[in-house]
Point group: C2
Chain length 224, copies 2
DNA sequence: CCCTATTTGTTGCAAAAACAACAAAACTTA
DNA sequence: TAAGTTTTGTTGTTTTTGCAACAAATAGGG
């Protein structure tokens, strides 16, 4: 099982021995699978009986509304979970889909095993449980951040709000974002072409610069 | 301490005796205060060293952006927490303010005491810890719901998305929402006057009806 | 390296939302 | 109940966005 290497790289399992991980995999009824870009890992509205862990690559949490519009709710990276909230809040269907954003490896675990205390007394299970809390909290804060972007009036303010947050996270005025233009439009819930126009304008104005997925905030907007 | 009565009403403390609650209050360094409508319970950007519990009434999580626009992120009711995520994710400032939405009673606890295991072995502390996970998960799902509303193109779709969710939660086509029109506009991040126009149109069309904070979805939009 | 698929930029037009300003209605409270 | 405050509705103007269609640029695969 060469996937063990990828698992061990995750901060989540730091300090766990191979045996620990092997035992946990068994304990949680783990399964590991790999996906190509664009492949659906788990469908919207399907039964929520597993919890997914991105082991390698990236995946997007997506929601399709009644008109067929796709919204990218969140971008998940290695170490991030999908489905934990449903498990803990006792919801039995996922309200969103998980879609591989690039070549990825995803582990999944039995929902019930994850949320209930381990009978086997796995060495890492306690650590894991503690981390869960932290991860869900971080997710919650990330969602709040996103709401802040979406709450901006106008595409210009939305995109600047997003880019400033990304810049702050990166701790630099140059930074990469996980979205191409089409995906960024989906993430910000605006028209792709309109976003393109606004980005072009901001570039011409000299406020920002960008190339591919790399951005640069040249003029920092002042906080209130 | 007559506030004890209010605390005991919360699902969170069901099955806890007065002594249990008294011990927990001591253990968590609890403080209780009451607030009028519009009063700021805790300011945006202030030090996040306490966790707040709405004991009675309602409060809104609000965010003011760099242009002075107020966004209502979330409406909290009795039993809901504020600041838990910051505690668990180890953030030291609140990114939002908590504002009393009506006459309310709010308890606050020492952040550190909440997130670390209790040395006194309070009877309810374990239960509390378990509920925390559930609450944060539920919050996360609620935020995802809101993102879905905000992701809709156009005010009409936003407000219908919101009202349908509220209707589903209430389990009826008649239901009350916690916002007046101004607050609803802030929650949906749109112009109040534009929202007013759209609501009027929907009422004239016969899609919905409303009076004060009571709404009625007359024609149900079909899911995809 | 060429062919194809995807991504990105551009434009014009129609529709919608922001904004501002004001009037009517409802709610407070003295 | 009268005065003042807040909420809600209305309207006209300006700006922005959505939408559709197309062209250019880029990436990916054989």
């Amino acid at each position: 099982m060469e996937n063990l290497k990828d698992l061990k790289k995750l901060a989540l399992f730091k300090g766990c021995s191979d045996q620990d991980i092997a035992r946990m995999k068994n304990c949680f009824k783990a399964e590991i699978a790999s996906f190509e870009k664009g492949e659906v890992i788990i469908n919207q509205s399907s039964k929520a009986n597993r919890v997914y862990l991105i082991v390698k690559g990236e995946a997007n949490v997506e929601h399709e509304d009644m008109f067929g519009n796709i919204a990218i709710i969140l971008n998940l990276k290695a170490g991030d979970f999908f489905g934990l909230e449903e498990a803990y809040a006792d919801k039995n269907t996922y309200k969103d889909a998980l879609v591989s954003a690039e070549k990825s490896i995803v582990a999944s675990f039995d929902r019930q095993k994850i949320i209930s205390p381990c009978s086997n007394n796995c060495l890492c299970h306690q650590i894991l449980a503690k981390d869960m809390m932290k991860m869900i909290s971080a997710r919650s804060l990330a969602l709040t951040d996103k709401i802040k972007h979406l709450s901006q009036r106008g595409i210009k303010d939305k995109v600047l709000s997003y880019l400033e947050t990304q810049s702050r996270i990166a701790g630099a005025s140059y930074f990469d974002i996980p979205f191409n233009k089409t995906e960024l439009a989906n993430y910000l819930a605006v028209e792709r072409s309109a976003l393109s126009t606004v980005l072009g304008k901001l570039k011409k104005e000299g406020t920002i610069d960008f190339d591919k997925k790399r951005y640069h905030i040249k003029i920092k907007k002042e906080e209130e």
